[in-house]
């Protein structure tokens, strides 16, 4: 028992370091970039010209229809054959961004569509342009509805970054694997890694609650009991 605790304590700094330097930045960067891709993709599908909307639909179809791990392997191990060589971290960043972009585009498309048409008309009736109506009237209302499903994507992403271990990114899970290789204590190390992922996603869950409250302060929503 004491041995286990010592091992956990000894490995904690290197696991936290890997989380801090790779897992967290990879998650934040690919979520921010992916959200931007998703917003653009959603707007194109709702308002863009048909051919462009078809391209976006194709993109979403491919990304959602193939395994994330296969996508990462394609980008990191496959693309060099086509003359495109990427370092592990940028390759992971691109893979996760494309993934987040595809999933969030569907969420954003749905929440923009959920704002009543009358709100567009009200915005137009006081002279707003399309982009003013979008920015000032539609997106703020859509944002409140988007928080729970986008949080799902965000939390999934934190855990999915462990797949980057397979393309040599020395993130949290790979750090645990390396310690296991020398200590032969898989149970302890993987439990410890799991707990750190749990801690990270707990932070996001807590942020979700606060964000929902703040964006929904104007009322008219059914609130969660807890």
């Amino acid at each position: 028992m004491l041995h286990w605790l010592t091992l956990m304590a000894d490995s904690l700094p290197s696991l936290l370091w890997a989380a801090l330097v790779f897992t967290v930045p990879l998650t934040l960067a690919s979520f921010a970039l992916g959200l931007t891709v998703g917003l653009v993709a959603a707007v194109v599908r709702l308002f863009g010209p048909a051919p462009l909307a078809a391209i976006v639909r194709f993109y979403v179809w491919i990304i959602r229809g193939t395994p994330l791990l296969v996508q990462l392997f394609l980008i990191f191990y496959g693309l060099p054959s086509a003359g495109i060589v990427l370092d592990a971290f940028p390759a992971a960043l691109i893979g996760f961004t494309l993934n987040v972009g595809a999933y969030t585009s569907e969420i954003i498309r749905a929440v923009i569509g959920s704002v009543p048409k009358g709100q567009w008309e009200a915005a137009y009736s006081i002279g707003m342009s399309w982009s003013q109506a979008m920015r000032r009237t539609i997106l703020p209302q859509a944002a409140r509805v988007a928080v729970p499903p986008l949080s799902n994507t965000f939390i999934s992403l934190v855990k999915d970054t462990s797949l980057a271990a397979a393309i040599t990114v020395p993130e949290l899970f790979q750090a645990a694997q390396r310690i296991v290789a020398t200590s032969y204590e898989p149970l302890i190390l993987y439990v410890e890694a799991a707990l750190i992922y749990l801690a990270l996603s707990s932070v996001l869950s807590a942020l979700q609650v606060r964000l929902e409250r703040r964006l929904g302060q104007y009322g008219g929503f059914l609130e969660a009991k807890s």
Binding site: P116, G118, Q119, E121, A122, A123, Y124, S125, I126, G127, M128, S129, Q132, R136, T137, P140, Q141, R144, Q217, Y218, G219, G220
Partner: protein, 255 residues
């Protein structure tokens, strides 16, 4: 002056307006009445171009725009005309994420680029006028329907439009709540606000409107001063419609 000339509106194969011409003088209130599907809402929405007429022309003050089938007017032209109008909707359509006073300020700040302080001053004056100054900082979700509609009227008036368009402004309200909205609109009418309203509400139309236009099947059936049209309609179709409105009034909502 507002002049709609020969307005035709088609949705696919369906012709909703069949060459409607209506003139509204400055400072007058015109009520568009008629059965549902008769085209009164569409006509109203053709004035501020929430619907683009298939053909015909719309003139508000000095601004005029003509429409041709298949031709799309430039955004700038739409804005030029729309800027002359304010609109009140059947379901209020306040921005739920903005307080009452922010709703009224929104057009001034976002579109007209007024400084916030100046916009707030004007918004408060308008809220005062519609009797909602005490709820300036309330969220729309906490207001009654009548209160929401009064804030919506203030919002529509904020940019000083040449004409106030009201699309069934009392239809979503019970008689008591619609009473407070009728009162506010009556005050505005007395002050010389030019208004065009689509309505089923006989109380609203008979009390406020100077002119009435009766639309059925996408055409103007009859038009005239409100007192005359409500009491002595000339056309048989108008008589029948007015009779049903009065009946309804006697049974349900007070006239």
């Amino acid at each position: 002056m507002i002049r709609l000339s020969n307005i035709e509106k088609r949705f696919g194969d369906l012709t909703v307006l069949k060459g409607v011409s209506v003139t509204v003088a400055e400072g007058r209130v015109t009520a568009l009445i008629g059965p549902s599907g008769g085209g009164k809402s569409t006509l109203l929405r053709c004035i501020n171009l929430l619907e683009i007429p298939t053909s015909g022309s719309v003139r508000i003050g000095e601004e005029e725009l003509a429409f041709q089938p298949g031709g799309k007017p430039a955004w700038k032209d739409i804005q030029r005309l729309r800027g002359q109008t304010g609109m009140v909707f059947q379901n209020f359509q306040l921005f739920p994420h903005r307080t009452a006073v922010e709703n009224v300020m929104e057009g001034l700040v976002t579109v007209q680029k007024w400084p916030a302080e100046k916009a707030r001053e004007r918004a408060m004056a308008l809220l005062h006028k519609v009797g909602m100054a005490h709820k300036a900082d309330a969220w729309p979700a906490t207001l009654s329907g009548g209160q929401q509609q009064r804030v919506a009227i203030a919002r529509a008036l904020a940019p000083s439009p040449r004409v106030l368009l009201c699309d069934e402004p009392t239809s979503a309200l019970d008689p008591e709540l619609s009473g407070e909205v009728v009162e506010v609109l009556g005050t505005l009418a007395a002050e010389g606000t030019t208004m065009v309203m689509a309505t089923h509400d006989l109380r609203l139309a008979s009390r406020i409107a100077h002119e009435v236009v009766f639309l059925d099947g996408g055409e103007v059936v009859e038009t005239g001063p409100s007192r005359k049209l409500f009491t002595h309609p000339e056309r048989e179709r108008t008589q029948r419609f007015i009779a049903t409105l009065t009946q309804q009034g006697q049974q349900g909502e007070g006239v």
